[in-house]
């Protein structure tokens, strides 16, 4: 019997197509999370008010921020879940190796981030519509964004989700390599938040957030996020390359 010659890229594509179908649960959990976030956003995501003499005002903000925050965390958790045994074993029922598994995962996560990013934008509009026609808010003001601004914003949204996904993937792999990390990482993170807040001003977390959040050029934001994500993926691949399957 002759041996099949296969190219890695072909198999990556096949695994990716297979994963789009077999990991479909990822998308349904996204729907749940988004509906929930939209529901929470219905009371407004922010408020401000004040008065000046006989004049007083209240501004109620509705933005996609909360939805995006939820979805970023969803991306983080989704990536962790994809690194767990149950999902890794699915790959190995068919042709694969560790690298192909990683690359098809990354492609899948990219697609999921893309879908998530677009739906975040769309669901902020659903939220608007509900606020106006269900909650009957008044004095409506909004930004009129151009198509370019919308495209830029959606791209940034996708990038932010992808950033969280890549962190999640790395964290997930750490946990797979050693269970201890599932305890160390949350404890370390909360500890870091507290220490960071107590001693520094501005805090490191804020600095990190500003590193991305204050970037007014989409191309630079793209470069920043892709570089950082790539770093996390490379680390994830390196730490898991010696890992056994189904041991």
């Amino acid at each position: 019997m002759y041996l099949a010659e296969v190219s890695s890229w072909e198999i990556v594509k096949k695994q990716y197509r297979y994963k789009l179908r077999s990991y479909f649960g990822v998308f349904s959990s996204l729907v749940v999370i988004q509906i929930l976030a939209t529901f929470f956003s219905l009371n407004g995501t922010g408020m401000s008010g004040g008065s000046s003499g006989t004049f007083s005002y209240n501004v109620n903000y509705y933005s996609g921020d909360l939805i995006l925050a939820f979805v970023m965390i969803w991306g983080f958790i989704t990536a962790i879940i994809i690194t767990t045994k149950a999902y890794r074993y699915d790959d190995y029922s068919f042709v694969t190796n560790r690298k192909i598994s990683h690359f098809s995962n990354i492609l899948f996560l990219m697609s999921a981030s893309l879908f998530a990013g677009i739906t975040v934008f769309l669901s902020s509009h659903l939220c608007r519509l509900l606020a106006v026609y269900v909650k009957h808010v008044d004095g409506i003001m909004m930004n009129q964004l151009t198509i370019t601004q919308i495209l830029k914003g959606v791209s940034a949204t996708v990038l932010y989700i992808f950033l969280f996904v890549s962190i999640g993937y790395f964290v997930g792999m750490l946990i797979q390599v050693n269970r201890l990390f599932s305890f160390l990482i949350p404890v370390g993170f909360i500890g870091f938040l507290i220490m960071d807040g107590l001693h520094n001003d501005p805090t490191l977390l804020q600095t990190i957030a500003l590193f991305f959040g204050s970037e007014a050029l989409l191309t630079l934001l793209f470069v920043k996020i892709i570089t950082v994500s790539a770093l996390f993926y490379v680390l994830a691949i390196l730490i898991s390359n010696r890992m056994e399957v189904r041991s």
């Binding site: 019997m1 041996l3 179908r21 990991y23 068919f94 042709v95 390359n241 041991s247």
Partner: protein
């Protein structure tokens, strides 16, 4: 051509050696039975061959390369066991179609016919299947994939007697239609004996025997008779198995390498020379002690 070659292969978990210094070669297009008791290291060995596990020392080559993390090995090997995991987001039929995309030799016609024959309903998910049905479904994938190296690890667990029979017949027929290297692990040899060409017998991760299956039948003989006579005759012979079966009567299994004269001598002192069923040979060879379970009670 060698499909699988292991030289002093060892797999260690901490201090325990799951596979210990195992050397053997599987040549192309043979059906080999991997026989051993539970915990003998069958699954560990097969997973190393399939490239799932890394070996600790020695050498392992499948299709001429180290199988661990090898795409070449993965593309040409299918490993069927009851730990196979499939997403529930795909129906059984969709799973077959997915498998079709991955394996160039995939025989979809065969897959669908087997699928019908075993009356699977196409809209079910893998998770809905009972253990036996899962094994049957996995078996369909294993057969239809027609991989140059096909590994079945305890494939019939959970299957009923009829399905088992069907499976082995299907395996044989498809092997005749498309010869390939097949490794079949089992703890029972009598079930698979007929369709095997070779047997690899392992115990505690070590190789006991690797022979054509016919030679296994002639590997050992049984000697039965008065305990004293038996002991006397066996003075210089290491038994594979020995047991007292009644008042003053014992039964021993020894390697079939005695000369005709020695056997005639045995008959002369009232000992009986009897053949030993293959299954028993395997059991005795792979058992933990030379006395079997009776030893515990004596």
């Amino acid at each position: 051509m060698k499909t699988v070659e292991c030289i002093e292969l060892t797999k260690q978990y901490g201090k325990t050696k799951a596979i210990n210094n195992l050397s053997f070669t599987l040549s192309e297009n043979k059906i080999t039975g991997l026989i051993g008791r539970n915990g003998a290291g069958k699954t560990t060995l097969l997973k190393m061959i399939a490239g799932y596990l890394r070996h600790s020392s020695g050498e392992i080559q499948v299709f001429g390369v180290n199988p661990f993390n090898s795409l070449k090995v993965s593309a040409n090997t299918i490993f069927i066991d009851n730990g196979m995991s499939f997403s529930n987001m795909l129906t059984l039929l969709e799973l077959l179609e997915s498998a079709k995309r991955f394996y160039p030799n995939w025989n979809h016609d065969l897959a669908l016919k087997l699928f019908d024959y075993f009356s699977f309903s196409p809209n079910l998910s893998h998770v809905n299947l009972s253990k036996g049905m899962k094994s049957t479904f996995n078996m369909i994938i294993g057969l239809a994939a027609r991989c140059p190296l096909t590994i079945f690890d305890e494939p019939t667990s959970g299957m009923d007697a009829g399905t088992r029979k069907d499976f082995y017949r299907a395996l044989l027929k498809d092997y005749i239609a498309e010869p390939r290297t097949i490794i079949l692990s089992s703890h029972l040899i009598d079930e698979v004996e007929d369709i095997l060409e070779e047997v690899l017998l392992i115990k505690n991760g070590e190789k006991l025997l690797h022979t054509p299956v016919e030679e296994l039948k002639e590997f050992a003989i049984g000697i039965r008779g008065k305990t004293e006579a038996l002991k006397e005759w066996m003075e210089k012979i290491e038994p594979i198995y020995i047991q007292e079966i009644g008042a003053n009567i014992s039964y021993a299994v020894i390697k079939n390498d005695r000369s005709l004269i020695e056997l005639e001598n045995a008959k002369a002192i009232g000992l009986e020379v009897v053949p030993v069923p293959t299954e028993d040979i395997c059991t005795y060879l792979t058992s933990k002690t030379k006395g079997g379970i009776d030893h515990v009670f004596s």
